[in-house]
């Protein structure tokens, strides 16, 4: 399974999907999540239409498209507004597509997964990011201890070469679905 970044909805100007991929992927042997990274949540009809159009053309090209993942760093913006945004997005997204979100561990001042749990029933999975940029967030063991009763299926995203030792609770957590590894490209600027 691959999570492929399709585009970004960036700050500045009208909220449009900035395509980051030159063409349509052709990965018939893989199940794909189409990832949209967002700096903002004021999406309009055109933003959504562009995403739907890409989801459609990925399928048309013979790919198995599981759904849409929204990669939004809610750390500085609060999760209440985000839940509302996702509820609305879920309502507009055709049923055949699942909805996934990334969740940074520091989603509230207390890094409390309970705020993430409020997305139950709205999103189909949460990919918990254990890193920021290129490094693992220290203290992740604590965070996972508080995820014991997390109600949404989740995967754990690890950064390539990051520090990681699996918290023991993961092995028997009923909602744990496995890992996603975030690959790094060497810096060349």
């Amino acid at each position: 399974m691959f999570y492929l970044l399709d585009g970004e909805v960036r700050r500045g100007g009208p909220p449009r999907l900035k395509a980051l991929r030159m063409g349509t992927p052709h990965l018939p042997d893989q199940a794909l999540w189409l990832v949209v990274r967002a700096d903002r949540l004021d999406w309009n009809e055109a933003t959504r239409a562009a995403i739907l159009s890409d989801l459609g053309s990925w399928r048309k090209a013979g790919n198995t498209v599981i759904g849409l993942q929204v990669d939004f760093d809610a750390a500085t913006k609060g999760i209440g507004h985000y839940a509302q945004f996702l509820r609305d997005l879920r309502r507009r997204l055709p049923q055949e597509y699942r909805l996934s979100v990334t969740g940074l561990m520091d989603w509230s001042a207390h890094g409390d997964p309970a705020s993430l749990a409020s997305l139950a029933g709205i999103v189909d999975e949460v990919v918990v990011q254990t890193y920021q940029g290129r490094s693992t967030i220290p203290g992740y063991e604590d965070y996972f201890r508080r995820m014991e009763h997390f109600p949404i299926p989740f995967r754990v995203a690890l950064v390539e070469h990051g520090a990681w030792q699996a918290p023991p609770m993961l092995a028997h957590h009923p909602q744990f679905r496995g890992y996603v590894v975030f690959l790094l490209k060497p810096a060349s600027r």
């Binding site: 492929l4 990832v35 309009n44 009809e45 750390a75 490094s135 679905r177 810096a187």
Partner: protein, 715 residues
């Protein structure tokens, strides 16, 4: 990034027992990896290796885009700027350091986004934001289109480019209306990658009576050809597969279409776009020399205050500097000093051990061979020569000759500023007695926009070396940069400086909170228990007590209130307020109960893994001097060790200390009870044998205790 290298090497993905059922990847998702908070600058002036934190002077370590922008801003008039805003996600940069995205946002802040308005008419999803309004405007102005047709055409336009269009609605009978319909059908063919259909559709429309349609139809062959050129150059992920996979016939067609359009519409609405697309043609067609010459000319002429400068820097970076053969392309040019300068800075990059970090580096003699190309830019060439000499370790006195003192200028272009900064760095290297005076002179004309804080760092580093830290915090001090002061407060400041800063009403609240927090934390952790009670009076009544400390110095809120109204106990052992615990320790530093209560305070208020700012000992910089606060930090783990080692401690106290000492390693096996762990090193650990011994002792010696009963493992 590099700060975690050690941790990474030692703890490379230990998977534990969990399965790897859904391992996947987020390809292409690292474009923003450097605009995040994992980037921590080394607070020192020399910037030899590529760093995600750049500075106001042109340096080898700067992002090439930053260096390009500083060059453009040196070659054109720019408006004076105030201090740069600190983005909330890059707090650690202060106003001294910058990322490319941070610099862009500081120069050209994006307007606040308005909430979504779904009442507005939906627009096409694939087209450029301006394309639909332009069509609608032309349609509205065209008197030849009847109202009913106009409405239908407008509705179809909104669907073009978004999947299939049914074209259902009234039939379009007017000759003008038919042209618009034909235009939409040709557009739909374009968005559906039907290049032949699009070409055939637009061709007759170049003679349309509608001027807008005629012109747009004349322009579209360029876009069609460019899309067709790359249509086959895509890999299985949908990423560009390289210019060698491009269709050359389509590139040639695009080149021709641009010439045709510009001939017919030299002042046309798409003239700028068509001219700009010549760069894309050059890039796709492999005309590297032509592309580079165009870039050189644009670097020289694009105003550094316009956002176009930032776009240009990004384009040049992707289309030229990120290419494997960039150096080869540039070295073949004979009149491209600006591109060469950017490339030379990059080629001067070195690893920490001094070896060149780019392939080949900048060999001796190469810069001299370029001199002729810099005839119009002697200052830039001088800067390059001096930078090379500085990072090659040449005698700093020679650099002083290359860069005459101009510190008293009223203002500085980035190039002029870089020359003076480098002069200051050479003075520092030469241990010149006039260094501090030089920095102070430079402060006056340096812009508050990233320049002044950098000069302040130069001055502080000198004072730090001379043991004159108190001058930083003296009244009227020229060191006004808050992040600079906050770093010194956390590292080298004496208790007296901390107390003075906590009370200095002329300083920002955040800085005063850093002073308070550092003072109270060190009072406790370094055993100045007798001072704690008095210092606690410095905590304002409304101070925050949120237990959030894992990224301490980056936080908006510094929870000073933890010391006055934190959590003292959670039912394990009975502890009063922290002030009582500190008072007990002041009376007797070996009061075991009070030591355990201090441990409870650390444990319950998020101090595990907490660290004040600590410079990397291998990369000394701001704050690397001797600590002004006496004593050694005593960690939570060490408190337990002290209680365990005391045969006179009460059984309950020893049992709890054993329990907690074991729990320090739960469940990961890492030491969670070390003091002031910085992210660049692993916390010290006691051997696993020792943890086992604690566990056994608890079980065997205090079997009836709650702690022995509740502990089932050791880690």
């Amino acid at each position: 990034m590099k700060r975690l290298a050690l941790l990474e090497r030692k703890r490379r993905l230990a998977w534990g027992t969990a399965t790897l059922a859904g391992a996947g990847l987020l390809a292409g998702g690292v474009a923003w990896a450097c605009a995040d908070s994992s980037c921590y600058p080394d607070w020192r002036l020399s910037l030899a290796s590529y760093d995600c934190a750049g500075q106001a002077m042109l340096s080898p370590g700067n992002d090439t885009r930053v260096n390009m922008l500083w060059l453009m801003r040196s070659l054109s008039e720019t408006a004076p700027r105030g201090p740069a805003p600190t983005p909330s996600d890059e707090r650690q940069f202060g106003q001294t350091w910058l990322s490319w995205s941070g610099l862009r946002a500081a120069l050209w802040p994006a307007p606040e986004a308005k909430p979504a308005e779904d009442a507005q008419p939906a627009s096409s999803c694939q087209t450029f934001a301006t394309a639909v309004p332009a069509f609608n405007e032309a349609l509205a102005a065209d008197k030849g289109v009847p109202e009913a047709e106009r409405k239908a055409l407008g509705q179809w336009r909104a669907k073009v480019g978004c999947g299939d269009v049914a074209w259902d609605g009234p039939s379009i009978a007017s000759p003008a209306g038919r042209d618009y319909l034909a235009y939409l059908k040709a557009s739909q063919a374009f968005y559906s990658s039907d290049w032949a259909g699009a070409r055939q559709g637009f061709a007759p429309l170049a003679r349309s009576k509608s001027r807008w349609i005629a012109e747009t139809a004349a322009y579209m062959p360029i876009r069609i050809a460019l899309r067709a050129a790359i249509a086959g150059a895509v890999d299985k992920y949908g990423d560009f597969a390289g210019t060698d996979k491009v269709d050359p016939a389509s590139v040639a067609a695009a080149r021709e279409a641009i010439a045709t359009y510009l001939k017919a519409w030299p002042q046309g609405r798409y003239a700028a776009s068509a001219t700009g697309l010549l760069r894309r043609v050059a890039w796709l067609g492999g005309d590297d020399a032509g592309l580079a010459q165009t870039y050189e000319q644009m670097l020289a002429t694009t105003p550094g205050d316009s956002e176009a400068a930032a776009d240009l820097a990004e384009e040049i970076d992707i289309k030229l500097f990120e290419r494997q053969n960039a150096d080869a392309i540039l070295d073949r040019l004979n009149n491209a000093p600006l591109l060469l300068a950017v490339a030379d800075f990059k080629r001067m990059r070195r690893f920490d051990d001094g070896t060149a970090s780019t392939k080949g580096g900048l060999p001796d003699g190469q810069l001299a061979a370029q001199k002729g190309q810099f005839a119009q830019h002697p200052d830039l060439y001088g800067l390059l020569e001096a930078t090379r000499a500085f990072y090659a370790g040449d005698n700093p006195r020679g650099i002083l000759t290359m860069l005459p003192d101009a510190a008293r200028a009223k203002s500085f272009t980035p190039v002029a500023f870089s020359r003076q900064m480098l002069r200051g760095m050479a003075l520092a290297k030469a241990h010149d007695p006039n260094e501090a005076g030089f920095w102070q002179e430079l402060l006056t004309g340096a812009s508050p926009f990233y320049q002044r804080p950098l000069v302040q760092m130069g001055l502080v580093l000198r004072w730090q070396r001379d043991g004159k830290l108190a001058q930083v915090f003296a009244p009227g001090s020229p060191i006004t940069d808050s992040m600079t002061r906050e770093i010194l407060l956390q590292t080298m400041a004496t208790p007296a400086i901390l107390r003075g800063s906590a009370q200095d009403a002329s300083r920002p609240a955040h800085e005063r909170d850093i002073a308070r927090f550092t003072l109270l934390y060190k009072d406790l952790a370094k055993g100045a228990y007798g001072d704690f009670g008095g210092d606690l009076a410095l905590v304002p009544a409304h101070a925050s007590a949120e237990d959030h400390l894992w990224n301490f110095s980056m936080q908006e809120t510094i929870p000073v209130g933890l010391f006055s109204k934190g959590k003292w106990a959670d039912g394990n052992i009975a502890c009063g307020p922290l002030s009582q615990t500190a008072a007990a320790l002041a009376r007797s530093p070996v009061d075991r109960k009070a030591q355990l209560c201090l441990g409870e305070f650390y444990r319950l208020n998020g101090f595990d893994g907490f660290s004040l700012y600590r410079p990397d000992p291998k990369r000394p910089g701001l704050g690397s001097g001797p600590e002004g606060f006496p004593g050694r930090l005593l960690s939570r783990g060490e408190l337990y060790a002290a209680v365990i080692a005391d045969p006179k401690a009460l059984p309950d106290e020893r049992a709890y200390a054993l329990y907690r000492a074991v729990m320090c390693y739960a469940p990961s096996g890492y030491n969670g009870c070390s003091a002031s762990v910085s992210t660049n090193s692993l916390p010290p650990e006691v051997p696993k044998e020792q943890r086992k011994a604690w566990y056994n002792e608890l079980k065997q010696r205090y079997p009836a205790s709650t702690w022995a009963k509740s502990l089932r493992y050791y880690w």
